[in-house]
């Protein structure tokens, strides 16, 4: 139990405690003795209250300007067209693991879903199934249509409406039963 947390985990937890009195410090020292020095140093830092060193120097402002150049030129995550790279068996497997009809996965592939209408819980499940982060899945679903490969083969799936639709509408059009639909739309964990 004690070794599974990093110094950062423990210090963060201590930092957001309501109070930083002796009892709180003792509790953390008892639970995480390996971070005794860090905890004492943090206890001291927290006793200072809100720190505001006031006006910044010209040197500070130059450092911030430099930081912006570095930040704005740092690579953002590479958006991968996750759905287009899936083979047909992989798409079937994804649909099966998520409990949705295959045509919904196809709709994702063809950008026919309004991304903001997808419940975050479902997004998180899909990200896990794809071995990606939710951000990467959202980015892939937000790719412009022209960058993805539009279906050119003969499809054995029932076609869905052409324009982007909400996730719920896609499920309804795909005749997903009501109870299943409610389950897929549930987003309770995130409120």
């Amino acid at each position: 139990m004690k070794s599974e947390f990093t110094s950062e985990d423990v210090l963060n937890a201590f930092a957001v405690e309501r109070t930083h009195d002796r009892a709180t410090l003792e509790r953390y020292l008892h639970q995480f003795p390996q971070y005794a020095v860090e905890l004492a140093l943090l206890s001291r830092e927290l006793s200072r209250g809100d720190v505001d060193t006031g006006e910044l120097s010209d040197r500070d402002r130059a450092a911030i300007a430099e930081a912006w150049i570095q930040y704005s030129s740092s690579p953002s995550f590479r958006v991968v067209d996750i759905f287009n790279s899936l083979s047909v068996p992989q798409r079937r497997e994804l649909a099966s693991s998520l409990g949705i009809p295959l045509q919904i996965v196809t709709a994702f592939r063809e950008r026919k879903v309004i991304v903001s209408s997808i419940p975050r819980r479902f997004l998180a499940r899909m990200a896990t199934a794809l071995g990606r982060t939710s951000d990467q899945v959202i980015a892939a679903l937000s790719l412009p249509l022209e960058t993805c490969c539009v279906r050119s083969h003969k499809s054995d799936e029932k076609p869905l409406a052409t324009g982007p639709a909400t996730f719920e509408k896609l499920l309804i059009d795909a005749q997903v039963p009501k109870d299943k639909l409610a389950e897929l739309m549930a987003d309770d964990d995130y409120h």
């Binding site: 930092a15 720190v51 505001d52 300007a65 930040y71 690579p75």
Partner: protein, 265 residues
């Protein structure tokens, strides 16, 4: 929708923003970016248009994978200014010379925060979540991280170990410290004294600083009762060694705090 945080605390619970921050973020998400951009310049914390630092962190991160605009730059710079204001100033008590260690801690803190923000652009950095919960508290952890990194280079924790047989060093520092107690309750009520004391403690080696903080919190140096947290056990140091380092710290603080006065105690 305001994206939920992902980092879990040591109890396995996902961190959540404070309700007033969530509320503010919902209000801000309805505003045009030009208005948010204008608000970045407001520094009066009492203004209703002031952007809390927790919101600044969210807004910078929310925009991290999109094309940057003028607002992105204003948000980023406003956030970095708040970070810089929360890092130690590289000026000594006399206000003349720059303290190299503080200067290094300030640079290290800035670099560390920038690195997290830059990494967050391509892979979600959970460590930044805490800055959306309690920015000032998270900054305190940033200062500690930076201090630990800098002090490891030029002030290893392994200080002087005392020879229990002779106790030679122990006696010397005990004499130097005298009966001086920098944590005396009455003196601590004076804000000017507190400020000078804080600055003086900042200059102590890590081990002494750690001991002083534990004493300030009321933790005993040693305890005969099993299971009671004490300084000796927590630091894995003999109680005599702890006392000697405490006395060394007191002696240093005595000099720093009584500069210009008679050292007769």
């Amino acid at each position: 929708m305001i994206a939920p945080l992902r980092k879990k605390d040591v109890g396995g619970k996902v961190y959540t923003r404070l309700p007033h921050i969530e509320k503010k973020l919902k209000e801000l998400s309805a505003l045009p970016r030009s208005q948010i951009s204008a608000r970045c310049a407001i520094q009066d914390k009492d203004s209703s248009d002031y952007l809390p630092s927790e919101c600044l962190v969210y807004l910078v991160r929310e925009n991290r994978s999109r094309s940057f605009d003028e607002c992105s730059e204003h948000l980023f710079k406003a956030l970095m200014e708040r970070v810089m204001r929360g890092l130690p100033q590289a000026v000594s008590l006399d206000g003349d010379s720059e303290r190299l260690t503080d200067s290094n801690v300030r640079d290290e803190g800035r670099h560390r925060f920038l690195e997290m923000l830059a990494n967050d652009r391509h892979e979600y950095v959970e460590a930044l979540d805490v800055y959306e919960v309690r920015f000032q508290m998270a900054l305190a952890t940033l200062r500690v991280d930076a201090q630990r990194k800098i002090y490891r280079q030029d002030d290893p924790l392994e200080g002087i170990e005392i020879d229990p047989a002779t106790g030679e060093i122990a006696e010397k520092v005990e004499r130097a410290a005298g009966t001086f107690d920098p944590l005396d309750g009455h003196a601590l009520d004076d804000p000017h004294y507190r400020l000078r004391l804080d600055k003086a403690i900042d200059g102590l080696p890590v081990l002494q600083k750690t001991i002083i903080e534990m004493i300030r919190q009321g933790i005993p140096i040693e305890s005969k009762e099993i299971g009671i947290v004490n300084i000796s056990n927590s630091l894995g140091k003999d109680s005599k060694t702890v006392r000697t380092h405490r006395n060394m710290a007191y002696a240093t603080l005595r000099v720093a705090l009584t500069k210009g006065e008679s050292n007769e105690v």
